[in-house]
Amino acid sequence: MSEFQQSMEEIQKIDQYLDKGYKINDVYENLSGMFVEFAQQEEVAVLQILTADARKYFAAKLQEQTSLQ
């Protein structure tokens, strides 16, 4: 799979969580990439983001969420 396709899939996953009403609750980065914690009421899900383009996209979504708060 090309890196572009991989990033599109990761972006799609980010959108899926947000479309379902999840909020970005926490994020941490390490040698393996970025780990984003999505939360909705009691439910928590962690998504590992590997690609650079998806990590950029995530930051834009976090900006959107922050500006709405």
Binding site: Y28, K56, L62, Q63
Partner: protein
């Protein structure tokens, strides 16, 4: 015609083109011929206690047929007594009262030594002083030149001593042989410098002869490091000028030096904050007459830009120079190949495939070999357009980003605010 006069910290000259302190400004004969050719100023070859030179002093690096892409020297400061130089400075200034003559000075880091030479040099009517804290070879082994220019405390203290005695503007010439030139530029400013100039030469060894195994140059079979200059050092010098120009603690004018070979180079230094420029290697390579094209070219450029004076150009690009963390991560460019112009050398494909992001595809259309960029995989690195030998065959074009601008610093602030 635009006005090319400059005023650098009170030193006025008819144009921004000065000869740097170096072999071209060794004598009154040379400086007077330079002024007749059109140079606006000259920084006299460094005055100090007359030295002894070795024979075999220069070497050049040629690259793919370009002669003198870089230039290396192990020549020291003036080897003539001070009185001889002062007499020639006096005569030259008398003949060319409207041209700038700046005396480059180098003495031991002692207050009384600086006071003495400043007084004697100013008595003959120089327009300013340039403190040589930059020469990396020979004199540095004796505690002068870059040896003192690499120590911020010594830069500040010596500048202060000079300012105690000086009546003319003091320029401090900085060495690039240091991790962060803004540290010594700040030190010079604290010491009272009226301006800074940069860069002096970079520690270098031009080469090794593969037959004799001697260094290039060598002196009876032995070599020593020299100072590197010429076109190869221009990007290093331009960055150092720009870093100083955007540093609020270096709030003095800058004289730009380093590989300036034509009016375009000069304009780039001026845009990045230099009030004027100093030239050496290009004059050594092509002679004093190169200044004619420099003057004409800069004049035409200023006219094209609608600027009445070269002083209006000074620093116009400084605000565009920033930290990496303040660049927009979401700005997007991609390569675009014009197959009508492409000669199918495939250098772009090879470069991209072997050393970048594997996004240039080879294919055939109507039996004709073609190249195409897969834009979704192109990161906009520019490599293909850099290696392409045909003008116009590859363009880097902007693509609208689907997400808003965000810098690394903004991103980090955003993420850290989430975890609070």
């Amino acid at each position: 015609m635009a006005d090319l006069h400059i005023n650098l910290a009170g030193i006025k000259s008819p144009n921004p083109f000065w000869l740097a302190s170096a072999p071209p400004t060794n004598s009154g004969y040379q400086v007077q011929r330079a002024f007749e050719a059109g140079w606006g100023g000259a920084v006299w070859k460094t005055l100090g206690e007359p030295i002894l030179n070795v024979s075999s002093r220069f070497a050049a690096v040629s690259y793919n047929g370009q002669r003198v892409a870089g230039f290396n020297n192990i020549e020291l400061i003036t080897d003539r007594p001070l009185e001889v130089n002062l007499q020639e400075i006096y005569e030259t200034k008398k003949k060319f009262p409207n041209h700038a003559i700046i005396a480059s000075l180098m003495v031991e880091p002692k207050q009384e030594k600086w006071h003495e030479i400043v007084k004697r040099v100013e008595d003959v009517g120089v327009d300013g002083l340039e403190l040589n804290f930059g020469c990396p070879h020979g004199m540095a082994e004796r505690g002068m030149g870059s040896a003192s220019g690499q120590v911020p405390e010594l830069v500040e203290k010596q500048t202060y001593w000079v300012k105690e005695a000086a009546r003319t503007p003091v320029i401090v010439k900085l060495t690039p042989n240091i991790t962060d030139i803004t540290v010594t530029a700040e030190a010079a400013t604290r010491g009272g410098a009226d301006a800074v100039s940069m860069i002096n030469t970079i520690n270098s060894l031009a080469g090794v002869d593969l037959d004799s195994w001697n260094t290039v140059p060598h002196v009876a079979g032995k070599g020593a490091h020299g100072g590197y200059c010429g076109p190869a050092v221009k990007p290093i010098a331009l960055n150092m000028v720009a870093e100083c120009a955007r540093n609020p603690l270096v709030n003095v004018p800058i004289s730009g030096i380093g590989g300036i070979s034509n009016w375009q180079d000069a304009a780039e230094f001026i845009l990045m904050g230099a009030t004027g420029v100093q030239v050496c290697t290009a004059a050594m390579h092509h002679g004093f007459s190169i200044v004619e094209d420099m003057i004409d070219g800069l004049n035409n450029y200023l006219d094209d830009k609608g600027l009445a004076s070269v002083m209006d150009l000074v620093g116009r690009s400084v605000q565009r120079y920033s930290n990496w963390g303040d660049l927009d991560l979401n700005y997007k460019i991609v390569a675009e190949i014009n197959n009508d112009v492409c000669i199918n050398c495939n250098k772009c494909h090879i470069a991209c495939e072997d050393t970048s992001h594997q996004c240039i595809d080879l294919y055939t259309e109507d039996g004709r070999p073609m190249l195409k960029v897969r834009e979704e995989d192109c990161v906009g690195c520019n490599l293909c357009s850099i290696v392409c030998p045909v003008d116009g065959a590859i363009s880097m074009v902007e693509r609208p980003s689907t997400i808003p601008p965000m810098t690394w610093n903004e991103r980090q602030t955003l993420i850290s605010s989430l975890s609070k």
